[in-house]
């Protein structure tokens, strides 16, 4: 193929490298809420009548998205897993 700027073989290798190396790269995440902590949080909140949807870090606090009585809540916990604030989403 005389229209390639590179030899076909080189082109294939470049493409292959790009694709497979890219596929190998794993998406990394920045997690430091342990499985243990999650279980504790979930049990505690469920016993208070909440349905726990998501737990994540936000501004140094732990933020929990939960539902209760058909209402949406954002619950903030400190590092000792004590509830510091409950915000209702309207």
């Amino acid at each position: 193929m005389k229209f390639l700027p590179l030899k076909p073989l080189t082109l294939t290798i470049a493409l292959g490298f790009g694709l497979t190396a890219g596929a190998m790269a794993m998406a990394s995440s920045y997690e430091n809420i342990t499985e243990e902590m999650r279980a504790q949080i979930t049990t505690k909140l469920e016993s208070d009548g909440y349905e726990v949807r998501k737990i994540e870090r936000e501004d140094g606090m732990i933020e929990v998205y939960a539902l209760k009585d058909g209402q949406r809540f954002e619950i903030y916990l400190d590092k000792d897993l004590k509830v510091s604030r409950i915000k209702q989403d309207d």
């Binding site: 726990v52 949807r53 998501k54 998205y65 939960a66 539902l67 058909g70 949406r72 989403d89």
Partner: protein, 177 residues
């Protein structure tokens, strides 16, 4: 040089309002704020209005005047590759594809954003990631859009940005003699 009226007032107002709103949403406003939500709904309303206008508006605003067509877009790519000088009234085929891409992507951003406020999808990681992924896709598309408008404008010697402000395209003469 001759000028042609191409973009009506609504299309121009819509375009630049969307530019401001998207910039605010993606780069300025805090994503947890009420304002972020409200501007989001405003964007959805803007797009809704554009869709209606695309069905009943002026000639170049109508979707029927820039139907998505892959063969036409590939032909335009061919023209670019062979450095042919074909200017388009209204949206070019490639431009049309980008418009539909942006309208749909930004609409989906708004919709996924709204979904995140519903009980059903409250706290859903999937919807949140979809929302964020779409923002990245739209952001990259806008980057390509800006580069493309500048290059196409240079290539066809028509000031496209100015056209979207004043509504008039100033075309260079195609004098053959």
């Amino acid at each position: 040089m001759h000028t042609v009226k191409v973009w009506d007032a609504f299309v121009r107002l819509f375009h630049w309002s969307l530019v401001i709103a998207f910039t605010l949403e993606a780069l300025v406003l805090d994503e947890d704020s009420r304002l972020h939500e409200q501007v989001g709904y405003f964007v959805l309303a803007l797009i809704g209005a554009r869709i209606i206008w695309g069905l009943v508006g002026t000639k170049y605003a109508r979707f029927s005047s820039f139907k998505p067509s892959i063969p036409a877009a590939v032909e335009q790519l061919g023209d670019i590759a062979t450095q042919r000088d074909k200017s388009h009234m209204g949206h070019s085929p490639l431009g049309a594809l980008m418009i539909y891409n942006l309208l749909i992507s930004i609409a989906l951003i708004g919709i996924t954003g709204w979904m995140m406020t519903t009980n059903m999808f409250w706290g859903s990681e999937g919807v949140e990631e979809l929302h964020e992924g779409l923002v990245i896709w739209a952001g990259a598309s806008i980057g390509v859009h800006i580069v493309a408008v500048i290059f196409e404008g240079r290539r066809s010697r028509v000031n496209l940005v100015k056209a979207m402000v004043t509504g008039y395209k100033t075309l260079p003469d195609q004098d053959r003699k």
